[in-house]
Assembly symmetry: C2
């Protein structure tokens, strides 16, 4: 893998222009405007390649399909487990200390890529409609 293709470039462009954590389907719809011939399987395949290359990040959702995020800058995510809203934020987690603690407790030296908060947002707390 890794030959140039305008389809892959268009997908990355869409990710750069839309910092809104789109689903694969939403990425497909957005890319269609630039590349009307693109197929959904091409979108999925390239999304996976971009994740593999570290250009975008896959966000693991409690509700609904997975979402993706362009890594313009290091940041963390807080995800509402009820409505699926994703909030970007910055926090200086002590990754070195967490790594050390992981090594001590589980005996595995894990390269930390990201730290995600899962919880319930204000709206879902008040609107107690489930």
């Amino acid at each position: 893998m890794n030959n140039y293709s305008k389809q892959r470039e268009a997908i990355l462009d869409v990710m750069k222009e839309n910092l809104v954590h789109p689903t694969a389907e939403e990425i497909y719809q957005l890319v269609l405007e630039k590349e009307p011939q693109i197929s959904k399987s091409t979108v999925y395949r390239n999304i996976n390649i971009l994740v593999e290359l570290g250009e975008i990040k896959k966000l693991n959702m409690t509700v609904g399909p997975d979402r993706y995020d362009y890594l313009y800058k290091e940041h963390s995510h807080a995800i509402c487990e009820k409505c699926g809203n994703i909030f970007d934020f910055y926090y200086d987690f002590n990754k070195d200390e967490i790594s050390k603690e992981l090594l001590k407790q589980i005996g595995n030296n894990i390269d930390i890529n990201s730290i995600t908060i899962y919880g319930i947002c204000e709206d879902c707390k008040s609107n107690n409609k489930k």
Copy 2:
């Protein structure tokens, strides 16, 4: 919802007896031993109810189907984004401070349920077979 059913009890028992982050399919297979008549849809429905009730936690995976964890004791998870291995560990995240920071940055008062580390485990780092 919330009437007693032996099926739901059997599922919760399975979760208590198997602290290994099973998938829904694995839970189904394990419950079959106790309740040979149970159907997969009953398993899925009850898993969702137990998550809703806060008895078990849904773990959002980068690779493979979602997994579930019985909340016998508060702990965090480190998940390998390549092989999907899940490591339980304890770490005293400063949730109050993180909450404050979230409120300041995103204007939303999120109830933090859990904090998950995503990264690459030792094995996947060395075995560079992707």
